[in-house]
Symmetry: C2
Subunit: 239 residues, 2 copies
């Protein structure tokens, strides 16, 4: 079984605390420098360097040189998806024993970046709104942007690459521990996050994947997308 050996290699790479921390940090979608990642993982720069070269060698990360910094990012959506699914299993793996339910968890549950798009309650809410507005329909290939949806989203400021057939987007059920509903990933998902950030409707936490909706964002999401946000009230209720 040649394939099994490969699977072992990939899993073993994730199965180390320092490397997993690095990968988790990059799940935010940003590109981070080696020094920054070393700090996050709380290891020396030499160890971090070793880990990073392994991860790049296994094509889990890509690296781009800019000035005298090396920026690392997740290599592909497939890798992000894999990490999400591992995290999903890890979440059910501890059922009752010692669930801290920290306010940090609550923040992530509310809204977070998943690799390059929005997830959590916020991501799901936006996906729902777009579907019920007829901007997006879901097909067996994941989903498509309708013509009116393309119009609407372009007006809103998304770069939708009008020529190609890339109107197709990639929707999928959220694998995370929190919601189990669809959110919007792929090119459209990435563009939405970019535009929201640009408009300062959302703010990303400096050192986690959490995403907070600003005051203007709250108004904008309500007026433009029809998304009502009593998120914070919800999030604080116990299930």
């Amino acid at each position: 079984m040649a394939a099994a050996a490969n699977m072992v290699e990939v899993a073993a790479l994730v199965g180390d605390t320092a490397r997993a921390t690095i990968l988790s940090a990059l799940m935010g979608g940003q590109a981070l420098t080696a020094r920054e990642l070393a700090a996050r993982a709380r290891v020396s720069k030499s160890t971090a360097s070793g880990h990073l070269s392994k991860l790049v060698g296994a094509r889990l990360l890509t690296v781009t040189q800019k000035r005298r910094n090396r920026y690392y990012r997740i290599a592909s959506p497939l890798v992000a998806k894999m990490l999400e699914s591992i995290k999903a299993v890890a979440a059910i793996e501890t059922p009752a024993r010692h669930q801290p339910r920290s306010t940090q968890d609550d923040r992530l549950r509310m809204g977070r970046t998943c690799y390059d798009h929005l997830a959590g309650r916020l991501g799901v809410g936006i996906a729902d709104a777009l579907v019920s507005n007829g901007c997006v329909v879901l097909t067996d290939d994941g989903g498509e942007v309708t013509d009116s949806g393309a119009h609407f989203l372009s007006n809103f400021g998304l770069a939708l690459a009008p020529n190609t057939k890339s109107k197709r987007i990639f929707c999928r059920p959220c694998l995370d521990w929190s919601e189990r509903r669809y959110h919007i990933a792929g090119h459209v998902g990435a563009e939405l996050l970019r535009r929201f950030t640009e408009l300062e409707w959302v703010e990303r936490d400096r050192d986690s994947r959490a995403v907070r909706v600003t005051a203007t964002g709250k108004v904008g999401l309500r007026d433009v997308f029809g998304v009502a946000l009593e998120f914070h009230d919800h999030a604080l209720r116990t299930p």
Copy 2:
């Protein structure tokens, strides 16, 4: 980050050759005994026992005692999904270097079990047929069996649990290295595989996940489902 630690644990469990072999063997969907798994992984029974208790402890596997044997199986579809997604990343991880493209690979590409349902070219073909026949539609929750579809599938011999709302099935894009299309998982997927095996339309390979279509199966799939199978011809072509 409490969640990260957990993720590390799960990934580390998969990141060992013996344990990954065990998990892969169980991805066929059957329950296997500890002795059998030790043989597959080529380790002594004591080592296997240690691995298995770890895997059960982490809820990746479940165990049921029967007579004087202990039967192990994958604990949940979520675990199966995670393993598939790791394998998918591992498959792209080696691009050109040493792709054997064995006849065994071809067999798996053709048709295979994925945990408890059909995947590969065969699984996708059946999903396509069911969709175009109107037996199944896909919604944003994954998919549903239509009324006529339920009628058809019940007649065909599936146990569909008519009372509950479990007409909903779980469709998802195939994450494997081969097809990137939908197949049918969940209860309906498992029932399909069961019924096909019962009718001897398909045969499972003894010691891999490969599934072969029998002669009667070929006829049956064509006449009942409208699935045309020139699979073998396709499979042997180079991409």
